[in-house]
């Protein structure tokens, strides 16, 4: 196809949008709505995922030594942890000595009666270990259990099960989002193909003449596809603006709620860092929705 022809076809497609103002407006709004819902769902998913990820990263393995653990037994554990640190499994760790443990429990309990019988000597020493990757936890914990200074049954804590539950929920959530997404896409494609069908109908005389004069199928189709793609892209751009405004507003509201409930471990993502990603997703989806929508109606109603 010649450049001149491409320009002609692109011009036809663009002017069609203007000629069919009302229907173009309706389809653009459909794309805006569909992509807006898609975007909000996507942002919720991103937020949940990043929060779970950061929770996973913050998750510590806690190791309590036996109260009666000897200096040698303690040294064994420290050596192993440090060795794992150089190996890249352990990100960082801190220790809590018997004295600190006693101080902590005293300040927590405040009631001297309960403290009777508790001495520094019968407090256990403990380690708080952050792993570089939660995936290492199983092996790491198994190994720790083999040390005689560690209480294998009660001495090791790791809240992995909680996280796994959350992750399972996330999987279901992602699945629901995918399903909703498919439904939204189908609706949008259907509505766009309706718009293009009206354009096809409005231009059926022209199309008929084109057929008789011997226009190639592609020559007849392309203006409609250009029209659909443009509608999709304009809808994507508008929807992006809408999403950024709505999300920023929502972020402020949620942040103030989180602060008032002191849920500082949870954080709402800023829009800025994900803006480009969202825009790309919108554009690609918009263009695909528009292109497929017009292709469908052109195929169906242009029996050349």
């Amino acid at each position: 196809m010649k450049i001149r022809t491409i320009r002609l076809l692109a011009k036809e497609g663009t002017s069609n949008i203007y000629k069919n103002k009302l229907m173009s407006f309706a389809s653009i709004m459909t794309v805006v709505a569909a992509l807006f819902f898609l975007g909000i769902l996507l942002l919720i998913a991103i937020n949940i995922t990043t929060n779970i990820e950061s929770m996973k990263r913050d998750l510590e393995v806690t190791v309590f030594l036996n109260v009666s653990a000897s200096a040698f037994e303690r040294e064994e554990v420290v050596t192993y942890i440090e060795q794992q640190q150089t190996a890249g499994v352990v990100a960082q760790y801190r220790t809590e000595s018997k004295e600190q443990a006693f101080e902590n429990i005293r300040s927590e309990l405040k009631n001297d009666d309960l403290l009777k019988g508790l001495t520094v000597e019968n407090m256990p020493e403990s380690f708080y270990i952050k792993l570089t990757n939660p995936a290492f936890s199983d092996n790491f914990i198994e190994k720790l259990k083999t040390f005689s200074g560690v209480n294998a049954d009660y001495g090791i804590g790791y809240d992995k099960a909680e996280l796994e539950k959350l992750e399972g929920f996330l999987k279901i959530f992602n699945f629901v989002i995918m399903a909703l997404l498919v439904v939204l896409m189908i609706i949008a494609v259907f509505l766009i193909s309706n718009t293009i069908r009206l354009t096809v109908f409005a231009r059926r005389r022209e199309i008929e003449i084109m057929k008789y004069v011997g226009a190639l199928d592609s020559f007849i189709r392309w203006p409609f596809i250009v029209e659909g793609i443009l509608i999709g892209f304009i809808g994507a751009a508008l929807s992006f603006l809408l999403t950024s405004q709505a999300y920023t507003w929502l972020q402020n509201v949620l942040n103030s709620i989180l602060i008032s409930f002191r849920l500082t471990t949870l954080s709402i993502l800023e829009f800025g860092p994900v803006a480009l990603r969202i825009f790309m997703v919108y554009s690609i989806f918009g263009i695909i929705i528009g292109g497929i929508g017009s292709l469908l109606s052109v195929r169906k109603h242009l029996n050349v």
């Binding site: 196809m1 010649k2 011997g214």
Partner: protein
């Protein structure tokens, strides 16, 4: 040039369009196809243009086998044909010039070719002065001339006219027929479907008469058949 070999067309609703029709039209001929409505005139023309495909038999047009033609070749068959309709079928939002130029844009002619050919075609049909007029500003005869110019601008080997004078008064009809004859004398094969007895009888061209889908007669210098 155009050859029908034992061609039958039965529409999906059972209506017989054409039945065992064998006929050929040579290069440079001027042929009338006559018959009452429903006699198969339109089917005959539609089969040439690949608007319909035969149920049985073969149709050859300008070297294309229309009866078993890949879809991708249809545009090229049509580029070798010029088509004129009873109801003109001009684009109302384009001037006479643009309507003709449109036919050239579709076949991807260069702007230079378009600038050269369009005035030539409009001149041939005697409409140079109306180039900038829109269809609604022109008379029926003038509109049909624009259609002729559009059909001719890509230099087709065959011109097909389906009732070209059906919407025109007798005087204008004659102007169009004279134009068709002139085009024929320049070497274009012309096929005209009509039921205007006057014109057929006066022009003394080859006449293919159809009745209920069958060829009733095919005569050189024929007359519109007598009701006997």
């Amino acid at each position: 040039m155009i050859r029908f070999v034992d061609t039958t067309k039965i529409y999906s609703n059972g209506v017989v369009g054409l039945k065992n029709c064998t006929v050929s039209v040579e290069k440079g001929e001027f042929v009338f196809v006559i018959g009452a409505s429903g006699s198969g005139k339109s089917t005959f023309l539609k089969l040439i243009m690949h608007e319909e495909v035969p149920t049985e038999g073969e149709v050859y047009v300008n070297g294309y086998s229309v009866h078993n033609m890949p879809r991708s070749e249809i545009p090229f068959l049509r580029r070798s044909l010029g088509v004129v309709f009873q109801d003109f079928r001009l684009l109302p939002n384009k001037t006479a010039y643009d309507n003709v130029a449109f036919a050239m844009q579709i076949v991807e002619a260069t702007p230079r070719e378009i600038r050269r050919q369009v005035p030539l075609a409009l001149g041939l049909v005697g409409l140079s002065k109306k180039a900038k007029a829109y269809p609604h500003q022109m008379s029926g005869g003038e509109q049909q001339r624009v259609v002729l110019a559009r059909a001719l601008v890509n230099n087709p080997a065959v011109l097909i006219a389906d009732e070209p004078t059906g919407n025109l008064d007798p005087k204008t009809s004659w102007e169009i027929m004279n134009l068709l004859e002139e085009i024929n004398q320049r070497g274009t094969t012309v096929i005209v479907a009509t039921h205007e007895k006057d014109i057929v009888d006066t022009m003394k061209k080859r006449v293919i008469a159809l009745e209920r889908g069958e060829i009733k007669s095919d005569e050189q210098k024929g007359l519109y058949f007598n009701e006997n």
